[in-house]
């Protein structure tokens, strides 16, 4: 995760209970900060908050990114996994893998808003066009959630083990990785209509977008990254080592 000022790339070291700050250009370690159980992290759009999910310790921590001071800890049940913010930075949504729920927290009042069931083993979360989308890894769909109430208003079938979702830089395509079926599915971001699915075996997980239009996809179980060319469906692979998870390209495709 790139810091809002673009000067540091943050990597959570869960086993080491620390956050690594890397130089995005060189990968050199800038500093290491003791942080409890950093599993997934995200900066609020206004850059004021860094939210860190502790999956093993059932906690959602809100930090002041300037000082890395812990502002607030929310105890949750259970296994907080992925997160997404509302565009106004007032709310953070956290999937709770262990309890099949999505939780919302008010970052202005620093208080929980709601916790609602959204489907089995929710993982990836994304804000899109006034809705919150949640990939349900224990099912084959993405749940569409009303951000105000937490009620599920729709389900879009993408593939078994829907795990994570990403919006293309031009905001036109929503990409969903389905871990059990080993596919990556493209949806129209405006209508949420399901388009083409691509076979990406080996546990597709994270995606980043290259300037040439290709998608780089981590394949957790086969030590590889796939470079998918959506127009042809072909992909080549790069060997990268054990259990590739997070992915950050430099340079990447620019948003218009």
């Amino acid at each position: 995760m790139l810091s809002p000022d673009g000067k540091s790339l943050l990597v959570g070291d869960t086993a080491g209970n620390q956050m690594l700050f890397l130089d995005p250009a060189t990968g050199a370690v800038q500093r290491e900060v003791a942080v409890s159980d950093p599993y997934q992290l995200g900066f609020s759009p206004d850059g004021k908050f860094l939210v860190v999910n502790g999956l093993a310790r059932n906690q959602v921590d809100v930090y002041d990114p300037a000082t890395m001071t812990l502002i607030k800890r929310f105890a949750v049940a259970s296994m907080p996994s992925h997160l997404a913010f509302s565009p106004d930075s007032h709310t953070v949504f956290v999937s709770l893998q262990g309890s099949d729920r999505l939780a919302a927290f008010d970052l202005t009042a620093m208080a929980p808003l709601w916790t609602q069931p959204v489907g089995p083993t929710p993982a990836g979360v994304l804000w899109l066009n006034g809705k919150v989308l949640v990939a349900d890894m224990g099912a084959d769909y993405v749940a569409v959630v009303d951000p105000a109430s937490g009620q599920v208003t729709g389900r879009i079938v993408t593939g078994k083990g829907a795990h994570n979702l990403f919006l293309s830089p031009d905001k036109k395509v929503l990409w969903v990785n389905n871990r059990v079926s080993g596919t990556t599915t493209a949806l129209d971001a405006a209508t949420l209509k399901v388009g083409r699915s691509y076979n990406i075996p080996g546990g597709p997980d994270d995606i980043d977008f290259a300037p040439d239009g290709s998608l780089w996809i981590t394949r957790r179980f086969v030590e590889k990254v796939a470079i998918l060319h959506p127009e042809t469906g072909d992909f080549e692979t790069i060997d990268v080592g054990r259990s590739p998870h997070g992915l950050w390209l430099n340079p990447k495709a620019a948003s218009p």
């Binding site: 086993a15 209970n17 893998q97 083990g161 059990v180 080592g241 259990s243």
Partner: protein, 313 residues
């Protein structure tokens, strides 16, 4: 070319575990299942390696020969269950979870989790030396656990499952009562947490130590010579520990990998005999029963020991 162990584990994860977890509605454990798969592969390879080394030794210079080897078959079941199933589960899945939770708690308080490098800063950057030192410390801790298990009546009741085998082979190392294994893991894991063994190194450490322990149980007339016997536990040295006249409190040679602790604390026996093994005080079911019969018999013996202790008090 990637890591073949990791790739095999990944294949098992993708083709067997994930579809199974998905069907059972247990996808929340998907990542941990992947960790288990990797260490199960390590365990399976270790079993094959042990077999490749110990079996020729046992055929070359057997101490004993038995026409009926049914009791050895039960020990094979113990080994596969332990090294491919249970050990990866507890040494990776459980240890990892506990260490992350505990160290997170420590970090929250502004402290730094304990590591060996913090106690001995000169170790920093010398990962192999640190790994070896972890092994030495854990082996010393295991010596004391083992020794106490022979002294405390109820604990010996459980541990006697391990000692009841009259047909001791390299498969016998994992022949333990589940409760005895549980206590051993808790003790081993607590010491590992205290000295800061990294979560991915802990299962590897256990597998390396257990390889030597398997060798030490081999039904083979093998010793390492007068100097070697004092450096590493040999089949002859450990056989004395399993001798029929060395059960319970009367035993010797408690060390699992290094004989140093026995030498240091006065329990070493370097006599040259290859003694018969077994526990003459145990039920026959402990020696020749099925896996389940041995577990039940161990529990009965535990119960009798607890009742007897209660009455004595």
């Amino acid at each position: 070319m990637g890591d073949p162990f990791d790739l095999i584990a990944g294949w098992i994860h993708e083709t067997v575990l994930i579809p199974l977890l998905y069907t059972l509605g247990l996808m929340r454990w998907e990542e941990l299942a992947g960790g288990w798969a990797l260490f199960a592969v390590y365990g399976a390879v270790q079993v094959m390696l042990t077999l490749a080394i110990c079996l020729p030794l046992e055929r070359w210079r057997p101490v004993e020969q038995w026409p009926d080897k049914t009791a050895v078959g039960v020990d094979i079941f113990y080994t596969v269950l332990s090294r491919v199933g249970v050990l990866p589960l507890v040494t990776f899945v459980l240890f990892y979870q506990v260490q992350v939770a505990l160290n997170g708690w420590i970090v929250d308080r502004g402290w730094i989790p304990p590591t060996l490098e913090r106690f001995i800063p000169a170790l920093t950057g010398h990962s192999l030396l640190t790994f070896a030192l972890y092994a030495v410390i854990l082996d010393c801790a295991d010596y004391w656990r083992h020794r106490v298990s022979h002294r405390v009546r109820w604990w010996w009741a459980l541990h006697s499952v391990h000692h009841a085998q009259r047909q001791m082979t390299f498969w016998s190392d994992d022949r333990n009562h589940l409760l005895d294994d549980l206590i051993a893991f808790l003790w081993f894991g607590a010491v590992a947490l205290l000295i800061g063994v990294p979560p991915l190194q802990f299962p590897i450490l256990v597998l390396v130590l257990r390889f030597v322990e398997s060798l030490s149980h081999a039904n083979a007339r093998v010793s390492f010579g007068s100097i070697g016997e004092r450096l590493l536990v040999s089949p002859r040295f450990h056989r004395a520990h399993h001798g029929v006249r060395a059960h319970g409190r009367r035993s010797v040679n408690y060390g699992a990998v290094l004989p140093w602790w026995d030498m240091l604390f006065g329990t070493a026996d370097f006599s040259r005999d290859y003694v018969p093994t077994g526990d003459p005080t145990g039920d026959e079911a402990l020696a020749t029963g099925s896996w389940l019969a041995q577990q039940r018999s161990g529990l009965r013996r535990l119960w009798r020991a607890l009742v007897s202790d209660h009455r004595a008090a």
